[in-house]
Amino acid sequence: MAGRRDLIVFGLLVLLYAVVFWSFGAAYSTRMLVEATCYALIALGLTIQWGYAGLFNVGIMGLVAVGGFGTMLVSYPTNPDFLASDGPALLSSVLFRLVISGLLIAGAVNLHRFGVPKAIRTVVQIFVIAGCYLWVSYGLDSAARHIEDTAGFVGGLGLPVWLGWAVGALFAAIIAYVVGRICLGLRSDYLAIATLGIAEIIKHFLKNADWLTRGTLTVSPLDWPVPVPNDIGFVAARSAFLAVTAVLVVVTYLLLERALHAPWGRMIRAIRENEVAAAAMGKNVEGRRLEIFVFGAILMGLGGAALVSFARIFDPSGFLPLNHTFLVWVMVILGGAGNNRGAIFGALFVYLVWTLSEPMALWLFDLARDWGDTVFGWQAPSDLDSRALQMRVFVIGLTITLVLRFAPHGILPERLGNK
């Protein structure tokens, strides 16, 4: 199965990581590997969305953040202040209002069944939706203020971490289902715009909902599914964590390979290549697309949950479109969209380069500063270091455009046909 190209590419990757292990030490390198495997999960999610089905998702950051939020909410210890206060009662009253509003809106949307004329229907719908929105948001507002004043924030549920990862993946799946239901039937550009928007909104929400996430104050320390470094030391703990994420990546990979070579995988690719023909063959195009969008989102949520658990801190401002969306895109299109091994290789390789590019950029700019100073007497701006890191943004953009133009199939291209 594995071609010569795969062997060479992965051999070089192992060599590269060996060099990193040797020069930076085991603690640093295991950390990098854990994060790279988390990114590999996210990249596998994107490769099934974009590579298998051609779905254009630029809102990965939002799904990653939701995954992290899910694991934080489930695994963080409970907050006794919150449980003792009126908070839970207030929140359940908000939930009650939400349910009533949902029923009212569902009724208003289905008014046509009772023979109400269209003009009246529209007016009623707008008023019902606006009224319910104000009612619920007013209740939520006062509940949030009460919780922030009395308890700080709601705290977690104090449940095991693996359950948190599952809930994170579930949250991501729910969001993907809603977005997919609305946008998947339309042109792919619209999906791009919508996912970009929803990612920003999720981030804004997590950042500003102090009652739920403590916002910019961040939540830490989060628990690990394995013993934490304080108990057994950095290298051992990180290696244990690495074992968990590596097993997740391998299991996902095996399942995906199986699915891709099954009739289901061929059907997905047929839909991507020629939607009309696939529909004419009786395939449910929209249903399959929604399915794959949700599957991809589950992997993204899981990867995000693992990433946030590993960092041990939930910081909503730390989710950046650059790190959590476009970096993943580079991984997938450089590695080879539609090829699972390509996605894993891309994730491991690009993350290595990305991590090392930070000291490299600083070093380069230091060099430029010295050189400019001695040769031209150029006074470098004082914030040169923060500007130097912006160079990485430029390089990511350049990589995307160059790969699309000169190597659109990536390093390990998608293999078609039954070989």
Binding site: L196, H204, W329, D383, V393, F394
Partner: protein
């Protein structure tokens, strides 16, 4: 009366200002969408780069001792527009045209435009640094305060000079665009390509020229919008990311490929934003005396908290995609 003046200041003036910016951006997006058939994600960054060009030119002009009765940034703006138009053509030539010639799917072009976005962002921050910058080196921003001539009103209508310039410029640009698209050969050729590219090509229309013109209009208007917005507030390198979503929402609300729709969409999104973050509790204040004691009078009654402003264009977008995917002006759905 006080409340109505406050409403005009907060909603009408701000809505017109931000709506003008969105409209100028959305015209470019919708023209590019209509003619090149892809969503140009780098449009927000064309705005930032255009504003950055204007900033550099302004500092050069100020150090050369040039002063003007209007802000220097506005005087040098045409040059910045030309530079940005040239940059836009260069970007097309370097990054989009090769992909188009290879016949790749439009969605790959979208990805390429995201790559361009990141490159432009990186360059702007590399040269300008991440902090906010003001256009006013030597002069002050003029603020006009207009007294209400009737009634007993203490609050004044306030509007800044760049806001007036922005609104005037937008009005002029709309008229010029209308004249261009309906009265000139080139404008008619653009509409023809937008309607049916194959038919346009076989009728002998120079498609390359049409593409160039599209980038000139899009780039020029983007630079103007970015400059005028930064003149009114400050130039921030992350300006573009927050503008992208409203601009796309405006283009889709107006109907893809419909320049007039984009203008209308820009103002719809702009007013929707200011209306939804406006504190409606202001209008309850005159009834303070007759308000029943039993109920607390709400102090803050906005549809959306200010920090969630970005969700307004998003929900408009979703609503339009659900109920009328062609937009209000019956644009295309590809």
């Amino acid at each position: 009366m006080e409340e109505i003046v406050f409403f005009i200041n907060k909603v009408l003036i701000n809505g017109t200002v931000i709506g003008s910016v969105y409209a100028l951006g959305a015209v470019g997006v919708t023209l590019i969408f209509g003619i090149l058939r892809f969503a140009h994600f780098a449009h927000g960054d064309l705005m930032t780069v255009g504003a950055f060009f204007a900033l550099v030119l302004t500092s050069l002009a100020v150090s050369a001792g040039i002063t003007a009765p209007i802000p220097v940034g506005f005087v040098v703006m045409p040059v910045a527009m030309v530079l940005t138009a040239v940059l836009a053509i260069g970007l097309d030539w370097g990054f989009y045209k090769p992909l188009r010639d290879k016949g790749t799917r439009p969605v790959v072009l979208v990805m390429a435009s995201i790559g361009v976005t990141l490159m432009l962002q990186g360059l702007v921050r590399l040269f300008a640094g991440p902090q906010a910058r003001s256009f006013y080196f030597a002069e002050n921003k003029d603020i006009f305060r207009i007294d209400i001539p009737f009634g007993d009103v203490r609050r004044q209508l306030t509007v800044t000079e760049p806001q007036v310039l922005l609104i005037l410029f937008t009005a002029l640009a709309v008229i010029a665009l209308h004249w261009f698209l309906t009265r000139t050969r080139r404008g008619k050729a653009m509409r023809a390509v937008s309607d049916n590219p194959d038919l346009a090509r076989v009728s002998g229309i120079d498609t390359a020229m049409v593409v160039r013109t599209t980038w000139i209009i899009g780039g020029g208007l983007a630079a103007a919008a970015g400059t005028l917005l930064s003149l009114d507030v400050v130039l921030k390198p992350d300006l573009s990311f927050n503008l992208l979503l409203p601009i796309f929402a405006a283009a889709i609300v107006g109907g893809i490929g419909q320049p007039y729709g984009a203008i209308a969409g820009g103002f719809i999104v702009g007013f929707a934003e200011t209306l939804s973050i406006f504190n409606w509790a202001i209008f309850l204040r005159p009834f303070r005396d007759v308000w029943p004691q039993a109920i607390d009078m709400p102090r803050h009654l906005a549809f959306v908290p200010t920090e969630y402003k970005l969700s307004v264009p998003f929900f408009i977008l979703i609503a339009v995609l659900i109920w009328r995917p062609t937009g209000i002006f019956r644009g295309r759905v590809f």
